[in-house]
Amino acid sequence: MLAANVSAIIEKALNGERLNLEEGAALLSCSDLTLLGQAANIIKNRWHPEKVVSFVIDRNINYTNVCRCRCKFCAFYREESDADAYILPAGELYKKIEETLAVGGTTIMIQGGLHPRLGLDYYLNMLRSIKQRYNIHIHSFSPPEVVYMAETSGLPVEEVLKQLKEAGLDSLPGGGAEILVNRVRRLISPNKIGWEQWMHVMECAHRLGMKSTATMMFGHVETIEERVLHMIRVREQQDKTGGFTAFIPWSYQPKNTQLGGETAGGVEYLKTLAVSRLMLDNVPNIQASWVTQGAKMGQVALSFGANDFGSTMLEENVVRAAGVTNRVPLEEIIRCIKDAGYTPAQRTPHYEIIKYF
């Protein structure tokens, strides 16, 4: 049965009024799944009346898996002494970029662990050497990496970002956000930067004219209120700097991690996606996460507030390490989008359409 206050909250969102923490939590607790979907869908259609679902053709490149953070939810990191620890040689990096360009890719997302022996120069040289060789958008380095570069170089975050930008960095991915509440971060990623630092990096990047995304990894130890608080913190920052292009919620994947447990179900995912669309009245795009949810759920997400299929990810290593291997080739992404009644379109990381399919 539909609680009266849920209708009132949805009415409020549809009238263009901003929802508060209690209201977001009430929506997440509501079990009328299709109602939440319909409300999110209406808001999505106001943002994107053109009935297009976009995606970016790109590749995730992970330059190292050595990480001193050792987050409990992560299955990707290794100790320097581990047999399968690695730093990607430059030659392999270039090869991966060339393969990406060869299939019409526009973008690389370079991310890696916090390696104790890699300093700021390593990153600056990497960026310069890529830009010297290739015309490709570099969407790289999540806030924990940027803060780590600041720590190891002794420079302020603004200065690090300025140098990264000058060396060729175009935009920042929204990783490392997990849940932007320090109680949760202490439990699942005690060595990782706090939420204020994460937001500070994004604020500085936005002020330097770089765009970024914001992610949320949910479904572990956080409460429903903390999930909504995460959304509100992104919304408040967006009011100030406006640099978030998209919000990307995805569910924690427990296999091979220290934290363990179960992954969130399909209903939880769709509700969280829909509530993100309703809460984040100032973020233009919401991405479906087919990497964590699979192609079927990724497509269904298009009815629950998502307008973007994210990245085609020619390569993905981090979620795969957590035992999830959803491989969706480009033609499958295009088929899913068309089958749902939308026009598929390749876009840039700045959401400019390059090509319709």
């Binding site: 079990s31 399909g266 759920m297 269904v300």
Partner: protein, 367 residues
């Protein structure tokens, strides 16, 4: 809120659903052609809650596949083998009995036995199988042998369907599973299961079983070469049979998995999430005389199966201890779901978990 309910292109169909009027063939086709997934789901959810409230049913059962040798060798099937194939097998009656005994402690309420059409297995093998399983599991409901197998036994022994069914019932058979229905349209059967009994014959077997007092299931294998119209006609044929006998317990849409089947070279795409949810929802809306719509999580994945509980589905087939058929065709979900996880999945969808037996008698609830 008005915006949600009034702007749909399906408004006239919605009015029919809310006033309890039967949908037509054209309504069914329009629903399939529409991309308004959420309105379709919402209507199906209305009917689902009218019929089953907040309950989400599940059954703890076990599957035995006594042989994979099959003279039909349907193009759609990844399980069947020729008799001389190195992977061909037949379970002896002792092996079947041992399998049945091995699940004595698993608190199952149903045993589900289906197999290929083996030319050398006589009716006596099946009767003895039923007697031994009945002895091993006296309180468990035996749901066994698809209409295709029942028809084969009748032809093999020159017996009437009624006589075969009566003999099977006397030996312990309680209910027929819904397999072998595929898509009733002859055009489709010619491509996907050219040697299998016709749709009419399938319906005859089930109606004969119903007249003998058995309750049975029904299925539809979708997502291969059939059209939307052929899916709707399939549902309508079942609706008509149900008007006649009332013997069907549930309808189970089955998403086709092409891997390792003879249809694989056709490069058929897997069903999409939209198609799966629409198929559940539309069958809920079309089959107004069926009590239950069941999702089989092995075929569509647990995430989508959970979501389907808001799109017309009231029953999840899970806690399957042993299931060979879907897995040979490359389904990528786990084979076994612990009851605890299934119950949590149902609760997380805001539904009330109810453990049932084959006939939907309540065995446990809430948890």
């Amino acid at each position: 809120m008005q915006e949600i309910f009034n702007n749909s292109e399906l408004r006239d169909i919605a009015e029919k659903v809310y006033s309890g009027r039967r949908l037509t063939r054209e309504d069914g086709i329009r629903l399939y052609r529409s991309n308004d997934l959420l309105t379709i789901g919402r209507l199906a959810n209305y009917v689902r809650e009218q019929k089953n409230g907040n309950n989400a049913y599940f059954i703890v059962n076990r599957h035995i596949n006594h042989t994979n040798i099959c003279v039909n060798r349907c193009q759609l099937c990844a399980f069947g083998r020729d008799a001389d194939d190195p992977e061909a097998y037949v379970l002896s009656l002792d092996e079947i009995e041992a399998k049945a005994r091995s699940c004595r402690n698993e608190k199952i309420s149903e045993i589900h036995i289906v197999g290929g059409l083996h030319p050398q297995l006589p009716l006596d093998y099946y009767l003895e199988m039923l007697r031994r399983v009945r002895r091993a599991l006296p309180n468990v409901i035996i749901q066994s042998f698809t209409a295709v197998e029942v028809d084969y036994l009748a032809r093999l022994h020159n017996m009437s369907l009624e006589d075969v069914l009566k003999a099977l019932m006397d030996a312990g058979l309680d209910s027929l599973p819904g397999g072998g229905a595929e898509i009733f349209a002859p055009r489709v059967r010619k491509i996907i299961c050219s040697k299998k009994i016709s749709g009419e014959r399938w319906l005859e077997v089930h109606k004969a079983a119903h007249r003998l007092g058995m309750r049975t299931n029904s299925t539809m294998l979708y997502g291969h070469v059939e059209t939307i119209e052929e899916r709707i006609d399939h549902m309508l044929a079942l609706r008509e049979a149900q008007d006649e006998t009332g013997g069907f317990l549930t309808f189970i849409p089955l998403a086709f998995h092409p891997q390792n089947t003879q249809l694989e070279p056709m490069k058929l795409a897997r069903t999409t999430g939209y198609d799966d949810l629409k198929t559940y929802a539309i069958s809920r809306l079309m089959l107004d005389n069926f009590d239950h719509i069941k999702a089989f999580w092995i075929l569509i994945g647990p995430k989508l199966a959970q979501v389907s509980l808001s799109f017309g589905v009231d029953d999840l087939d899970g806690t399957v201890v042993e299931e060979n058929i879907a897995h040979d065709a490359g389904a990528d979900t786990d084979q076994y779901m612990p009851k605890k996880r299934l119950v949590e999945m149902i609760k997380a969808a805001g539904r009330y978990p109810v453990e049932r037996d084959t006939l939907y008698n309540v065995l446990g609830e809430g948890f």
